[in-house]
C-alpha cells in the first residue's frame, strides 16, 4: 500500500524527503549550537563611562562541553551606541576572544544608557547559520555623575 502511495505521489514524496533532510540538518545545527557556550569572562573597567576616550575591553570565552575552543570566529555588535574596534575576533588557545568597545560620549542627544554587546559564534554551524550567542549589558555612566 505504501509502495503504491509512493508510486502515485512520487513528486510529493521527493519533496517530503527533501523537507525532512533540511529539517534534520537544521535540527542538527541547533543541537550543535547548544553544545557551545559563550560566556562573559571579564570587563576591563569597573565603571563603564559614556566617554569615547575610555575604551573597554570585553573578554568572551567559548567552550564546548567545558573545554576551551580555539580558532572560532566571534562577531560582536554594540546595540545602543558606540563602536567595536573590531567586530570580528578569533578565539585563542584558551577559547578567549578580546573585544574592544569604544563608548559614545554622553550628551543631550545621547544620554548615558545601557548598551548591549551581542556576540555570536560564526564558526559553530555545519550547514545553517545557527549561532551560539551571548549578550553583555554595559551600564554606561556619565563621567560627571561618577
Amino acid at each position: 500500500m505504501l509502495k503504491a502511495f509512493i508510486k502515485n505521489h512520487k513528486k510529493l514524496f521527493v519533496c517530503a524527503v527533501v523537507v525532512l533532510v533540511i529539517a534534520a540538518l537544521f535540527g542538527m545545527d541547533i543541537i550543535i549550537s547548544k553544545t557551545y557556550t559563550l560566556k562573559l569572562e571579564s570587563i576591563s573597567e569597573e565603571v563603564v563611562y559614556a566617554d569615547n576616550k575610555i575604551p573597554v575591553t570585553v573578554q568572551i570565552s567559548l567552550t564546548q562541553f567545558g573545554k576551551p575552543i580555539a580558532g572560532h570566529s566571534l562577531y560582536a555588535v554594540a546595540e545602543g551606541g558606540g563602536r567595536m574596534k573590531a567586530n570580528r575576533v578569533m578565539t585563542d588557545e584558551n577559547g578567549i576572544a578580546e573585544f574592544i568597545y569604544v563608548p559614545y560620549t554622553a550628551n543631550r542627544f545621547m544620554p548615558a544608557a545601557p548598551v548591549t554587546i551581542k556576540v555570536i559564534d560564526e564558526s559553530n554551524s555545519l550547514v545553517f547559520e545557527v549561532n551560539a550567542t551571548v549578550s553583555v549589558t554595559l551600564e554606561l555612566v556619565e563621567k560627571e555623575d561618577a
Binding site: 575610555i54 570566529s73 546595540e79 558606540g82 563602536r83 574596534k85 569604544v102 560620549t105
Partner: protein, 501 residues
C-alpha cells in the same frame, strides 16, 4: 418653542466660539509663527538607519543624526525634518548628478544636500552661506559668529569655497590627516625601510616585485589606466603644485584655490606644451601605471584588481585604501600578519626638479584636515520660499553645534569633527600620532567639469597606449583645459579682469 430658540442660539454661539478657539491654536496655516514647514534633507552617508539594531550583515547603524533630528524638531516644533531616502549613497558624482537633475526637474529637490561640497558649482545650484555663517549660531550659548565654531582653515577648503570665493557648503566631518592610507604588511617590511617619498615607494616596490611579491596595490576600485586615481589626486598633483607654489598661488596664502587654478590655466601656467613641470605631472602619472613592467600595472607584477584578498594572504607589501577602512582591517581575522598604516607618499626632487623641494613631516594632530562631509543648501528648493531657507539654515546650525558634530564623529569613528570643541574618536589615536607629510594645499587641475575631465582622461589612455604622440597629447590637454576653464568662468560669471589673458 421659545426654549428651543434660546437653546439653538446658545448652541450657535458655542459653535462659533468653539471654532474660533480651534482656529487660533491648531490651524497650521494661520500666522507665520505657527506655520508648519516640512524640510527635506539629504544627509547622504549620515542618513539615519531605518533599523536601530546592528546586525552581522549591517553592523554600522546610523543613530546620531536620528537623535539630532528628534532634538531639533522638539526645539523647533514648526519644522518637520523629512530625510530623503531616494539617493544611492554608494553612488559616484555622476549618479548624484543624475539624481539631482531629476529632483530639480520634479520640483522635489531637498533643501539640504550632500554633493561633495562644490562638485556642481558651475551649475549655480548652491546658496551662498557666508551671510548666515557670519550670524550667531543661536543653538550655541554665547556664540556670536557661526563660522567661529569651526577650524578656521576649513573656509579655504575647495570643498567649501567655490571658484568665486563664496562659501557654499557647511562642513561636518574632516578626513583624518589624509583621505587615504597605505596599509602595509609588517612581516614583509621587517627587513626593509618604509618608503618616504615617491622614488623610494617605486624602488622598494620593484624589489618586492622581483622577489615574486606585489610591491604596491592601488585600492580595489582602480581598475583601469586613468588620471582619476588617488595617486594623481593625493601624490602627483599636490607635489607639483608645491614645486610651483610661487607661481600658482597668486595671493601667497599657501592655498591654491579653484579661482587661482582657473586663472593659472587661462594664463597658461598649467600648459604642458609650454612648461616642462606640467609635462612632468603627466609623465609621473604614466610612470605609475607602467612601473610593474610590460605595462602590466601600477607597481605590481600582475595587476588584476581587486587585490585586497592578495593582501590578506600576505602577497602584497602595501595596499592603498581609505582611512575609513581601519575597522575593516581590524576585523580581518584571516590576516596572519600585523599590518601598519602610513600616509601616501609625496614626490620631491629625488624624482623631479620641478616637484616640491623637500617633504616636511608633522604629527597627524597638527595637520589641516581636508573637508570630507559638508552640506549645501539648494537654491531650487528655497527660492521664493524664505521660510524653507530659514528652516534649512536653522537645521544646519543645529547639525553643526559642537555637541551634534561630536555625536556624529563618535559614530563615524574614522573622521575628525569640523568644529573646534568636538573630540574625535579614540580609535584614531594611534593613526594621528604618526608623522604625516605636509601636503601642499592645491590640486593639479584637469578639465574642471565632467565633460572635459572625461576628454582629458581618454587622451591620457590613448597616450599611455602609444596611440598618440607626446606633442599631440600635450596640445590637446591644454585645449580641453582651456575649454573646461572657459565653461566654468562663463557659468559662474567669474571676473577675469586683471588676468594676463
Amino acid at each position: 418653542m421659545k426654549r428651543t430658540k434660546l437653546l439653538s442660539l446658545l448652541l450657535a454661539l458655542l459653535l462659533v466660539f468653539g471654532l474660533a478657539a480651534c482656529g487660533n491654536t491648531e490651524d497650521p496655516g494661520t500666522g507665520d509663527k505657527d506655520e508648519q514647514i516640512t524640510l527635506y534633507v539629504d544627509l547622504h552617508a549620515l542618513r539615519p538607519s531605518l533599523s536601530s539594531t546592528p546586525t552581522a550583515e549591517n553592523p554600522d547603524v546610523v543613530l546620531a543624526t536620528k537623535h539630532i533630528i528628534k532634538a531639533f524638531e522638539e526645539e523647533n516644533p514648526n519644522i518637520k525634518v523629512k530625510v530623503d531616502r531616494t539617493k544611492d549613497v554608494t553612488g559616484n558624482a555622476e549618479s548624484c548628478s543624475q539624481w539631482l537633475i531629476n529632483k530639480i526637474n520634479n520640483g522635489d529637490c531637498p533643501a539640504i544636500v550632500f554633493t561633495w561640497g562644490t562638485q556642481f558649482q558651475d551649475r549655480n545650484y548652491y546658496v551662498d552661506l557666508e551671510p548666515y555663517l557670519n550670524e550667531p549660531n543661536e543653538y550655541v550659548e554665547g556664540n556670536t559668529k557661526w563660522s567661529d565654531l569651526f577650524h578656521s582653515y576649513v573656509w579655504k577648503d575647495p570643498n567649501v569655497m567655490d571658484a568665486n570665493g563664496k562659501l557654499v557648503s557647511v562642513p561636518v566631518l574632516l578626513s583624518p590627516g589624509t583621505q587615504t592610507a597605505y596599509y602595509y604588511n609588517k612581516s614583509l617590511y621587517a627587513n626593509k625601510t618604509l618608503p618616504t617619498n615617491w622614488e623610494t615607494l617605486i624602488s622598494t616596490s620593484r624589489e618586492f616585485n622581483e622577489e615574486g611579491k606585489v610591491g604596491f596595490a592601488p585600492w580595489d576600485n582602480l581598475t583601469k589606466v586613468t588620471l582619476d586615481s588617488w595617486q594623481f589626486k593625493f601624490s602627483i598633483g599636490p607635489s607639483f603644485v608645491g614645486g610651483q607654489m610661487d607661481s600658482l598661488d597668486y595671493n601667497n596664502d599657501g592655498v591654491v584655490t579653484t579661482y587661482e587654478q582657473l586663472r593659472g590655466v587661462k594664463e597658461g601656467k598649467y600648459n604642458p606644451e609650454d612648461h616642462a613641470y606640467a609635462r612632468e605631472v603627466f609623465k609621473q602619472a604614466r610612470r605609475f601605471f607602467t612601473t610593474g613592467g610590460n605595462n602590466r600595472g601600477p607597481l605590481v607584477n600582475n595587476w588584476t584588481n581587486p587585490m585586497s584578498n592578495e593582501f590578506t594572504q600576505g602577497r602584497v607589501a602595501i595596499i592603498e585604501d581609505g582611512t575609513w577602512s581601519i575597522q575593516k582591517m581590524e576585523s580581518n581575522i584571516d590576516m596572519e600578519f600585523e599590518y601598519g598604516m602610513m600616509s601616501p607618499v609625496l614626490i620631491d626632487q629625488a624624482t623631479s626638479q620641478y616637484a616640491m623641494k623637500e617633504i616636511s613631516f608633522v604629527k597627524g594632530t597638527e595637520i589641516k584636515h581636508e573637508v570630507n562631509v559638508s552640506y549645501n543648501i539648494m537654491k531650487s528648493a528655497v527660492e521664493g520660499k524664505p521660510e524653507v531657507l530659514e528652516a534649512a539654515v536653522k537645521f544646519l546650525k543645529f547639525l553643526t553645534t559642537p555637541d551634534s558634530i561630536e555625536t556624529i564623529a563618535s559614530e563615524n569613528a574614522s573622521y575628525i569633527p569640523a568644529t573646534v570643541e568636538s573630540e574625535y574618536s579614540t580609535l584614531l589615536d594611534s593613526w594621528l600620532n604618526q608623522q604625516f607629510p605636509v601636503v601642499p594645499q592645491g590640486k593639479w587641475p584637469l578639465g574642471f567639469v565632467t565633460e572635459y575631465n572625461d576628454k582629458i582622461d581618454r587622451l591620457f589612455q590613448q597616450w599611455f597606449q602609444g596611440k598618440i604622440e607626446d606633442d599631440e597629447f600635450y596640445a590637446d590637454v591644454n585645449e580641453f583645459q582651456q575649454q573646461g576653464a572657459d565653461a566654468v568662468i562663463a557659468s559662474m560669471g567669474i571676473d577675469t579682469n586683471g588676468w594676463a589673458i
